[in-house]
Symmetry: C2
């Protein structure tokens, strides 16, 4: 079987099934971060993301923004678990003909973002590769009581996003702000049931939450906040790489969030029983199945 | 400037100079692992290695051995700091036309080695790439009192290697045993002054120890243990990817090691004052400068 039949998530599932972990691993493959027991009060978070030229960025993109994105996507994963990022390792596969000045700029962009988020770049590797390939691993920490994963959503929860969606192909994917401060604020003020960062698109990432939580979900089309660059509903649902937080809380906490932070967090729907499936309700009250069509690597 | 002018180590130096870290980072870029303060007695070790098809392995190599190597090189870095490996993240850039069965085999090789060394594979990433690209990050731990780095060698130290060198191009580079048990044994029994794993070749990695320790060193050609596949002295000195430990101890500890473990650890030379430089003495007592010519990526 070729990978384009199996797909990225099929492959990840296949791998996950074969892997056993010991009791120190509170969460292994299949969430935004791996969660490791650190001490009585703290969990260690581990995440890693690979960016490849021609897939995640192009040679014409500003190299500083490329470096920035390579670190930002991992920061976003730590944010999705309500953690604080601390240590980064950076591997780079570099074409032989690359200019040192170009690579300097990539590091410059990464370093500036690292400084902004209090992250130490502590090591990594350099190799040769046919196209620029950047793989960043990031270690973070979160208080055990504030840890949020994908699997805690409950029927009746309100579903929120942390910002406007869509339009990422117009350059936003290189400039997004990882939502660490927002996630920390939410985890301190409310009881988050489930959280994920929107990397594959609202529809697909909501599907990840629903699947992990064994629930269904319904979105209200009219509630979905569009970014200025969004090219319609499909873009906001499936464009991917928004890197906003998608989270669920009890209806009680939800009402508080709407009241206190009306322009920071946007309610977009409700978690339902599993048998309801994944649905979206349009402006006229018409209900249809939420089509999941995020980015496919293969 | 193109990278082939600057070179891999030039580039790493350039990056290192621009990066600042906070007080929790005991050692950042420039050793086998980054060393992070964990608790009063323990350090956390972080390392990451990227393997690229056509550079570190070929499409004709057994995929299980490719997966094995991708993890083994990072285990070897943890061993070089006398640590125990614990958590791995695996990023894979996969060509679109790859067969799922091939990728399964790569994971199988990695998984088998992980099990052998008590390592949890807890996450990672999958992307598309022009050639198979595997980047593994590994977290380990070491008691603070047993931590060994490159920079602790002292004039008068004896220099040892943990096994026979050379012949890695004949397939050994895919099958080597990371020397975790040996490193732990040494760190428990002796006072290791400096240690590194031989990835770039004995000459170059001894150069790394000498530079970090601000010393010189002399090797005795007749003492260098050749592997059965080695094609002469140059291969043993500069072939690279032996992944044996290279370490220094006081002459007193050195004599004990020779007496107790004659066929496990091989003395190959002595650490000298810096002004002596790096030398090798041949079978007839002739001294010459140790030529450093390990593998170059660019």
């Amino acid at each position: 079987m070729l990978l384009n039949k199996l797909g990225e998530f099929g492959l990840i599932d296949r791998i996950r099934k074969t892997i056993k972990t010991d009791a120190s691993v509170l969460k292994g493959i299949g969430d935004d971060c791996a969660v490791i027991r650190y001490d009585r009060r703290t969990c260690m978070l581990l995440t890693q993301d690979m960016l490849v030229e021609g897939v995640d960025f192009t040679r014409r993109d500003d190299p500083r923004l490329v470096g920035r994105k390579a670190l930002a996507v991992s920061i976003s994963d730590i944010a999705a678990c309500a953690g604080l990022p601390r240590y980064a390792l950076v591997s780079m596969g570099i074409p032989r003909a690359a200019a040192a000045a170009y690579i300097d700029e990539v590091y410059r962009g990464m370093r500036a973002l690292a400084r902004e988020y209090g992250i130490n770049i502590v090591g990594g590797d350099i190799s040769r590769a046919p196209v620029l390939t950047i793989d960043v691993s990031l270690t973070g920490f979160v208080e055990k009581k504030r840890l949020v994963l994908r699997g805690g959503a409950r029927p009746g929860d309100m579903i929120f996003v942390s910002g406007r969606l869509g339009g990422t192909r117009q350059g936003k994917h290189l400039r997004f702000t990882p939502r660490v401060a927002e996630a920390r604020f939410l985890a301190e003020q409310y009881r988050l049931h489930a959280m994920i960062d929107i990397s594959d698109g609202l529809a697909q990432d909501l599907g990840h939450i629903a699947r992990a939580s064994n629930t269904g979900a319904v979105l209200f089309e009219k509630l979905i906040p569009f970014s200025a660059q969004a090219r319609g509903l499909d873009d906001a649902l499936s464009g991917g790489e928004d890197f906003e937080l998608l989270f669920t809380v009890s209806a009680r906490d939800g009402r508080m969030i709407i009241k206190r932070s009306p322009s920071r967090f946007f309610p977009v729907g409700t978690i339902t029983e599993k048998r309801y499936g994944l649905k979206i309700i349009d402006g006229n009250g018409g209900e249809r199945v939420l089509r999941i069509s995020g980015y496919r690597h293969f």
